[in-house]
Subunit: 449 residues, 2 copies
């Protein structure tokens, strides 16, 4: 049984556990699960020093926050003052090391134990987590299968129960994909509500940082340290601090389907069954133009990634894997006029989603397939044969292109016991309301069961 962040907060508050005990437990489990390859930097001394300092604060009645003393793992594209930051690439990042990303600094100020850096897909430029300078991560539910990525190490660390929470980042699903594939919870905030300062970018108009956790309420505990205005990330200007997550009546969900939104029968069965069990009001709607929206997402992603990496690629081309280098070079061949077209199509998606009527959340499976086997390059489902890479971002990129808050929650498993995830997307900027909807659904499908 995985311990949740909420349980750890309660155990620390009541004195049932010390931070040193939590940290020692995490270190022990990290060692036992070493073959998952979840971590790329982990210093037990550093961890225990932070935990003992937290215990000392609590002893003096000076705990910095409810999460003071909780071990939290950090994806390796967040700058950290103590651990190096590599984005799991051999091409050394140009950013200044030795400082904390804004969100890491917030967690540290709240007393969280910065536990380790987690494995990721090189530069977050892929969704399988098989390309990493530290090697692939393995899925705790079945180590012959991928975790999905790019925040795969964070997903594995939480799903294996090593830590209750980890940070990820999401450009086309990189938080939700490993959450769905590993059977845990992952939340991508609305674009611009959480600071990217110190998070190495993939595509700055799509990127959002966020948490991966053992339970839904864990997300709500962490969001106050993640959301809010940061003068160092212009996209967060006028971003609101994270507010209360209220209770609500039966939510109205729109279940999206259409060409380009196919999924395997296994996934669809678990997903629809969970949707029925949820008791929510569900309307089925067609989303038109998926292939054109997807092309727009790809053009923006590749162009921005090529722009960001231009200097490093020129300086150290062999530092990148061949596939990432090919992506970056392809990105330079997209014309400005094509990019502008993509940006206009992006606006049309928002218009279409807003025009679907009154809805509290849009709903889709997180992934069209369960976690693929390591080494399987192709997936077949719903009459489609697509690369494993494309199958991972299959539904998720929609939330990035529209900038919406999105959450993946577990919703069952396939006959072979691999997790199926449900993705809920909220209205822009209404992250708190989406979490209220997700909590309503989660209680009915995962706790009443």
């Amino acid at each position: 049984m995985i311990q949740t962040l909420t349980q750890q907060i309660e155990a620390l508050a009541s004195g049932v556990n010390s931070s040193s005990e939590l940290a020692a437990g995490s270190l022990d489990r990290a060692a036992r699960h070493a073959k998952l390859n979840a971590f790329v930097a982990l210093d037990p001394d550093l961890v225990m020093r932070q935990a003992r300092a937290a215990d000392e604060r609590r002893r003096q009645g000076k705990a910095l926050s409810p999460i003071d003393g909780v071990p939290i793992a950090i994806k390796d594209n967040y700058l950290t003052a103590d651990y190096p930051t590599t984005a799991c690439s051999n091409a050394l990042p140009l950013e200044r090391q030795g400082q904390d990303a804004t969100i890491v600094a917030n967690l540290r100020k709240a007393g969280a134990v910065i536990f380790a850096k987690t494995n990721m897909h090189e530069w977050a430029y892929g969704a399988t987590n098989s390309a990493s300078s530290f090697g692939a991560t393995r899925n705790p539910r079945n180590p012959d299968h991928i975790t999905g990525g790019s925040s795969g190490g964070s997903g594995a660390a939480v799903a294996a129960g090593i830590v209750s929470a980890a940070l990820g980042s999401d450009t086309g699903g990189s938080i939700r994909i490993p959450s769905g594939a590993c059977g845990i919870y992952g939340f991508k905030p609305s674009y611009g509500r959480a600071s990217r300062n110190g998070v190495l970018p993939l595509s700055w108009s799509l990127d959002a940082p966020g948490p991966i956790t053992a339970a839904l309420d864990d997300i709500i505990h962490l969001m106050p340290f993640i959301c809010g205005e940061d003068g160092n990330d212009p996209a967060t200007l006028r971003s609101l601090a994270f507010g209360p997550v209220g209770r609500l009546d039966r939510p109205r969900l729109i279940n999206l389907a259409g060409e380009g939104l196919e999924r395997s029968d296994d996934v669809d069965g678990s997903f629809l069954s969970a949707l029925r069990r949820s008791g929510a009001e569900v309307t089925n709607r067609e989303l038109e133009g998926v292939s054109s929206y997807f092309a727009a997402w790809e053009a923006i992603l590749h162009c921005e990634a090529s722009s960001y990496h231009a200097e490093l690629l020129a300086r150290n081309p062999s530092g990148f894997t061949a596939l990432t280098r090919a992506h970056l070079e392809a990105g330079t061949r997209i014309s400005g006029v094509e990019l502008l077209k993509a940006q206009r199509i992006r606006g049309q998606l928002t218009t279409q989603l807003n025009g679907l009527g009154d809805w509290d959340a849009l709903v889709l499976p997180t992934l069209p397939v369960v976690a693929p086997k390591i080494g399987d390059d192709w997936q077949t489902f719903g009459g489609r044969r697509v690369t494993t890479q494309d199958s991972m971002t299959w539904f998720c990129w929609i939330g990035n292109l529209a900038g919406l808050p999105c959450i993946s929650i577990p919703c069952g498993s396939s006959p072979e016991g691999l997790p199926v995830g449900m993705m809920l997307m909220g209205r822009y900027g209404q992250d708190e309301r989406l979490l209220a909807v997700a909590r309503w659904v989660d209680r009915r499908i995962n706790m009443d069961a």
Copy 2:
């Protein structure tokens, strides 16, 4: 002596003049100045019908606004319900004709007499006003010289005293250039404060519509009909209605210089003399990186123009002049990565200008030269030899790239009697404050003299 809009408003209010008298006067002067080629659509019957209706409203005490009955000319890239809209191009625009742009509709609702459509540089894609399907405009101060553009017809109409006010649009100076070259007043609002709905675009992230007038207070009379939120132009979201233009103490001006900001001795002499006469607190500062900012402005301009015109260019290539076609084709060869770099450099300009310290306005001449002779393709000044086109946008594009409110006011003339303009740029969104600064300066250099 040119009649100002303020004088016309007073004459109508006091009954000294009727709208029919103003309109008849404008029609008479338009006929006498026909060789200026300021107008491309002008229907005397339509004008007089509007004027008589305005007079009837005033007789009944039902004037719609202070400007009810004032003739105002409209640049030919604004859609108008009565006149056709051609952007002075043989390539017929694809936009629906027969409706008013938002600003035209606002003026019409206020009772203004929509007087005529004014000549412009084809598609606003040039700053000389020599390329127009209706032929070049001529400068009222000396008809052998250009008006500058692209709102050259509006500039000529006001400078010749035909109307007291006209609408223009400005992507790299197209309002301020003819205002400077013809010795009148032109105001480009902050990006996003005035609706572009129904104004045919050149470059949607740079374009701003605004007035060209006979006097500074005329601008202030018109701005309430020009500024404000319009659901049909997303850039105006959260745009404020135009507020009061207050009085202020001695303003602090920063006089910009540096490589790329050279000007002729004649212009510099008039400009510096006016700056001294103004009595404002003037600090001289260097603007660094002008050539890289200029390249960014050009990349954004050409890319967006090529994107907007792609469909029409494919359908009717011979409808464009060779030069415009060459621009549009060149624009398609800019890469997405180059465009993104230009967008980033754009952000650096704003940072640099904000970092110049405490200032109420930045100040430059409007143009580095006085209005060139028609047919002169090159200008030599300050050790530079540049195309007449580049000399027209020389200083003006800075305000578009940074999105700042900018005004051109007259500040003297060259030995041969051609006008010299002074350009003041305000802080983003603070259009009212810039107009207060400009009024302070204008009173001292143009009224105390």
